[in-house]
């Protein structure tokens, strides 16, 4: 296995945490993992993204030039990272904030209205966990147990946020079933 | 003609103008986002008449969004 995932969106959308959850889970499953954030000048605003590799082999370059999965949480992210997907790769789109489609037709595309679902659940901050759920239901990259433990790890010190995020994760998994894979 | 013009795309929704206005007529337009992704500050047309052209909003705006005309 050699998954190369790019998570991307606005700062504040929990992009880094999405990557962290997958990385932790991978590590707990005994995989080799790496997590690489983009980092800009410390001024706020703009986009954020991170590159996550989960692999049976030791991780070479942590920079992902050919992603197997891209999770785009806002429009600029979609525009920027679509081209980095390998043919046949998976593109997850946060359709609540993205009203355009991808340019390519050689990839699998899924649209999840993550913000809307989160809104329904009463907490906009969990849109990222919803997307992680969606991703996991598409591809069993890591084990279910590992993901749950990863949530616990990432929310260390903020334990009271764990249940709602796991709930969101599960809603994300379900959401895929109600989704349409745009081919 | 009294006018308070917002160079909307520069606005960062910081609300300093809102707090500064002695007439409390500035608000954030929660229905719209500008190109930067912020809800811009506005004065509803029905409120502009309350403006006393004091310029306080412009003085406090860190992003030179506001022009005040009397």
């Amino acid at each position: 296995m050699d998954e190369k995932i790019i998570f991307a969106g606005f700062g504040g959308q929990g992009i880094m945490s999405m990557g962290l959850i997958m990385s932790y889970a991978g590590m707990m499953d005994g995989k080799n993992v790496s997590w690489l954030p983009s980092y800009g000048p410390e001024m706020r605003g703009g986009t954020a993204n991170c590159h996550v590799t989960i692999s049976d082999e030791p991780v070479g370059s942590p920079i992902i030039n050919e992603a197997t999965i891209v999770v785009a949480m806002n429009r600029p992210s979609l525009e920027r990272f679509e081209k980095d997907l390998v043919a046949g790769g998976i593109l997850l789109i946060n359709s609540s904030l993205i009203d355009i489609g991808p340019q390519r037709s050689d990839i699998e595309v899924y649209r999840i209205p993550a913000n809307d679902i989160a809104n329904q659940m009463g907490n906009l901050k969990i849109a990222n966990s919803i997307m992680v759920g969606a991703l996991m239901s598409l591809k069993n990259i890591v084990s279910e147990d590992a993901v749950v433990n990863a949530f616990k790890k990432v929310f260390e010190g903020k334990e009271k946020l764990i249940p709602i995020n796991i709930q969101a994760y599960n809603r994300g998994k379900e959401s895929i079933n109600s989704q349409f894979a745009v081919k | 003609m009294k006018q308070v013009i917002f160079n909307e795309n520069l606005c960062k929704s910081c609300e300093l103008c809102l707090e500064a206005c002695p007439k409390h007529i500035i608000e954030m337009d929660l229905d719209r986002l500008n190109v930067k992704g912020y809800h811009p500050a506005i004065i509803k047309p029905e409120n502009i008449e309350k403006c006393i052209s004091c310029g306080f909003c412009a003085i406090m705006c860190p992003d030179t969004v506001i022009t005040v005309i009397k």
Binding site: L20, S23, Y24, M27, N32, V33, S34, W35, L36, P37, Y39, G40, P41, E42, P58, V59, G60, S61, P62, I63, N65, K153 | -
Partner: protein
């Protein structure tokens, strides 16, 4: 303790603490700020000292004082900050004070940018400060290795009474990987007593002096020669490198740190095209490993040094190869990271489309 997922900057900090370092002096600069933040949090918990100095100039001289007073001491910064330390580093080397200095490199020159770079190779290995001295320079390429080398760095520093530099880059500082601290020898146990340190005379008979001044040129030359004896010893005992797929490579990449990881991807890519590519990864940049070149120079066709710079380590590669085989260079600058495909393309180009 199980594996933990950590940023390189944090792993560096934690490894130092586990190696018995209880004194950290520094000044904020991107992309190494996580070190300062981590130290600020952790040091008080372990009874150590975290001090944010007023500048890098001041910080390196605090290191001089603390190291001279016998402590295991760490300082970290990034390129412009390291430039400001050059006088201090020369003093530390001259006065033979052990310490560990980490440079999390970013693009230059000048204010430049904050993306990863390797353009301080010359500064680190040839001596950015004045005078004849050498830093022992170690270049990790994974977060685990960052932790391991930091621990070794403290031991080497003590062994030679010499500053040791960890040369990383922004990517290594910012990325996370699992890291295991179990292998780190816990520092307190194996720090030898520093009888030369200024600790207050106490019952000691002779006063200790930490100094690099010697106005008599004959004595100063003697001091220089003694320093170089140490360096000679180090260049025998502290050479570190890794060779990958070199056995029957026709072209060997030479790369350190982050870029060595990219190079490993290139090896795989090249295999698909039936090009046999090997990799020499210097881990100690000074002493620069000559052995792997001796081992390969007879059969390999050419070497290609890949760097995130306009070409610096390539000079050491040329010195090691000494004209016996052609040496090429491919680099990206200013924070750009060479892509595997581009390197492969370069390989094809210099091989004259061979194989």
């Amino acid at each position: 303790m199980a594996k933990v997922l950590m940023k390189g900057n944090e792993a560096l900090a934690e490894a130092a603490i586990q190696a018995g370092c209880r004194h950290y002096f520094g000044y904020p600069i991107t992309p190494q700020n996580e070190v300062t933040a981590y130290m600020a949090k952790r040091m008080p918990k372990v009874g150590g000292v975290f001090l944010q100095a007023e500048s890098e100039v001041s910080a390196i001289n605090m290191v001089y004082g603390a190291g001279g007073a016998g402590a295991r001491v760490l300082i970290t910064s990034s390129s412009p900050g390291i430039s400001l330390m050059q006088e201090g580093i020369s003093y530390i080397a001259g006065a033979e004070i052990p310490c560990v200095i980490a440079n999390v490199m970013r693009g230059g020159p000048g204010l430049g940018g904050i993306q990863p770079s390797q353009s301080d190779y010359f500064q680190s290995t040839k001596g950015g400060g004045h005078g004849d001295y050498k830093l022992i320079v170690l270049a990790p390429s994974t977060i685990q290795e960052m932790a391991d080398l930091v621990q070794q760095a403290f031991d080497i520093a003590d062994k030679y009474r010499n500053p040791v530099m960890i040369l990383g880059d922004g990517m290594l500082g910012q990325m996370m990987e699992p890291v295991d601290f179990d292998n780190i020898k816990k520092g307190e146990n194996h720090i030898e007593e520093k009888t030369w340190a200024t600790t207050g005379m106490g019952t000691r008979k002779k006063k200790n002096i930490i100094n690099s001044l010697e106005l008599d040129p004959q004595m100063l030359e003697k001091h220089n020669i003694e320093l170089f004896k140490k360096y000679e010893k180090a260049s025998k005992e502290e050479v570190r490198y890794e060779m990958t797929n070199c056995e029957d490579a026709e072209i060997i990449l030479v790369a350190y740190g982050t870029i060595a990881r990219v190079a490993k991807n290139v090896i795989e890519l090249a295999k698909r095209e039936n090009i046999n590519v090997g990799l020499i990864r210097p881990i100690s940049l000074w002493p620069f490993p000559v052995e792997p070149f001796e081992k390969t120079v007879n059969y390999v066709k050419r070497y290609l040094s890949i760097e995130m710079s306009m070409g610096q380590m390539v000079e050491d590669v040329k010195l090691a190869v000494n004209g016996r085989k052609p040496v090429y260079f491919y680099g990206r600058a200013g924070g750009m990271v060479p892509e595997p495909a581009a390197i492969l393309e370069e390989i094809r180009k210099i091989s004259g489309g061979a194989k």
